[in-house]
């Protein structure tokens, strides 16, 4: 067998990982496309994009898509700005080390353990935040509380690797702090910020854990998200809906990711050209 692999020039080192990954993820992911165009998991009659249009036009999916969109477009910029400012403040002011540690510790706290506190503050009673129309606000708060740490680590690293001589030069040229921030510090931090953005997107889907422990599979409709939709489709075991939902979800994420990579690439190119 190894002779054969050698002929293919594929390293045996990759084989265990590649086999496991293919069997559990890649092959069924591609295989599943078939289901998304079939009448059902048991009846493979080709139905075209009927499943997709059914998913896209269902009320639950639209609600989930809308809420996920609201959540991501508010929470992600908010946490990125907040953590950049916090990192900048820590970098410039050098407060006691505990400040940094305290902001970071929430990343280690499991959702179910933190739920005791959040229930008490915003989660119980008919008039609580989580049961009101503004429940999304609570979800965003929990998300920011829990994920600032990751962004802080990345932003701090970006700031700490700044070339001091560039900053000194701008001081000598008489730039004010805000000019320096705008024209030197922020542009130099773009690569770390893009990476922080990718990590934030990945983590933003995990907010499901916190919403789930607080409100279960069918939460307040104003915080019913794509993750809930998918989760509940597992219970129905409708393969055709499950797979077409997954592909729509995946497509949205890939488009997002490519956009970010593209911004990063074109930006680095521009900076590269101007230097």
């Amino acid at each position: 067998m190894f002779e054969r692999l050698k002929k293919l020039k594929i390293s045996p080192f990759i084989i265990p990982s590649l086999v496991g990954f293919s069997v559990l993820y890649l092959v069924p992911f591609i295989w599943g496309i078939r289901y998304s165009f079939s009448r059902s998991g048991f009846d493979s009659t080709f139905v075209g994009y009927a499943n997709y249009s059914e998913v896209l036009s269902s009320g639950a999916f639209r609600l989930a898509l809308k809420n996920t969109g609201i959540f991501m477009s508010v929470a992600i910029p908010l946490i990125m700005i907040l953590s950049f400012l916090l990192a900048l403040a820590i970098y410039e002011l050098k407060p006691p080390k505990l400040v940094y540690l305290f902001m970071m510790l929430p990343i280690a706290i499991p959702s179910a353990a933190a739920a005791g506190f959040f229930r008490k503050i915003i989660g119980t009673g008919a008039f609580s935040l989580m049961n009101s129309d503004y429940a999304m606000l609570g979800v965003i708060l929990i998300f920011i509380w829990k994920n600032t740490g990751y962004n802080l680590i990345i932003n701090m690293a970006g700031l700490l690797q700044l070339d001091i001589s560039v900053i000194e030069a701008s001081k000598i040229d008489g730039a004010t702090y805000f000019q320096r921030l705008r024209h030197v510090i922020i542009p130099l931090c773009i690569p770390t910020t893009v990476f922080a953005g990718i990590v934030t997107i990945i983590n933003s889907f995990k907010v499901f854990k916190d919403v789930y422990v607080l409100q279960g599979s069918y939460p307040n409709p104003s915080i019913y998200m794509l993750q809930h939709y998918m989760n509940n489709k597992f219970n129905d075991l409708q393969y055709e809906k499950l797979t077409s939902g997954a592909y729509i979800f995946a497509l949205v994420i890939f488009v997002f990711a490519f956009l970010l990579f593209y911004i990063d690439k074109s930006y680095s190119k521009r900076v590269g050209d101007s230097i």
Binding site: I14, G32, G116, F118
Partner: protein, 274 residues
């Protein structure tokens, strides 16, 4: 002026630590106080009652704790043990298709559980129907996808790329095999990445919820990340002690390894290509 800003920073950091501190102090309160309508922060009298009754009356708590340890431990060991070979191959042993494989691995990292659990589920279901291999409702249904999740390969590959090729070439000329290079040169150099991977994977899997609620039906197989919810509803009087014990491993690992995390997360993401 500077002092004012530092004061504000300290105040913000206290907001971040408050939910954790609240959980800890509440674990030392008696039943009456945790049931109080108000937000109680300081125990009326320091009291270990919650811990005693957890240990004496709620022995099953520790079974769920063990479930969590088993799932998290096996996933970490498996992901690193298998992933390190793949990461080395992808970073240093260029072969046709290696870039495509890496790109697919990266895309998989981006997807949320609700998407990746779908292919996992299709496989488990097929195995059960065609070969009568039961994986659904077993811990393996969580462990296998965890072990082969591409995140570890991705992170370690980024680090291995940073090792100068000259070092590896030199060892090869001296007659070292790939295995020897991996164990004698690569692994010692990327230890910080491995530590940070352990921390990140631990935090993530210690809090695994999606996989458990979809793949497990039998209540006694649940990890604590899901079962703690039952304690909240059925045994509120010991909830905070249970939560504190559950938090501790993740918290200690984070505090101990915080320095590595900085290195691992950032270098891994941005790459240190040479």
């Amino acid at each position: 002026m500077k002092k004012v800003f530092i004061g504000i920073l300290i105040a913000i950091s206290l907001l971040y630590i408050f939910p954790i501190a609240y959980t800890f102090t509440n674990s030392f309160m008696d039943e009456k106080q945790i049931n109080s309508y108000y937000i109680e922060t300081i125990p009326d009298q320091f009291n270990l009652q919650q811990y005693y009754s957890l240990a004496l009356d709620k022995g099953e708590y520790f079974k769920f704790f063990l479930n969590s340890i088993k799932l998290t431990g096996v996933i970490i060991i498996g992901q690193i043990g298998i992933g390190i070979f793949a990461a080395f191959a992808l970073a240093k042993l260029k072969f046709p298709g290696s870039n495509i494989i890496f790109a697919v691995y990266v895309l998989a990292v981006l997807l949320p559980f609700q998407v990746t659990l779908v292919p996992n589920y299709l496989v488990f279901d097929k195995l059960e129907r065609l070969f009568d291999i039961q994986l659904l409702d077993t811990h393996l249904a969580i462990i296998l996808p965890g072990v082969f999740s591409s995140f570890g390969v991705f992170l370690m590959r980024q680090f291995i790329r940073g090792i100068p090729n000259e070092i590896i070439e030199a060892a090869r000329i001296d007659g070292a095999s790939h295995i020897a290079i991996l164990f004698k040169i690569v692994i010692p150099v990327i230890k910080p990445a491995i530590y940070s991977l352990v921390i990140l994977t631990f935090i993530d899997n210690w809090n695994l919820i999606e996989q458990a609620i979809i793949f497990l039906d039998t209540p006694k197989k649940l990890p604590l990340s899901v079962f703690l919810e039952n304690i909240y509803h059925e045994d509120y009087k010991v909830f905070f002690a249970a939560a504190v014990l559950y938090i501790m491993p993740a918290l200690l690992i984070l505090i101990k390894g915080e320095g590595y995390l900085k290195e691992g997360l950032v270098m891994g993401g941005l790459g240190n290509e040479k």
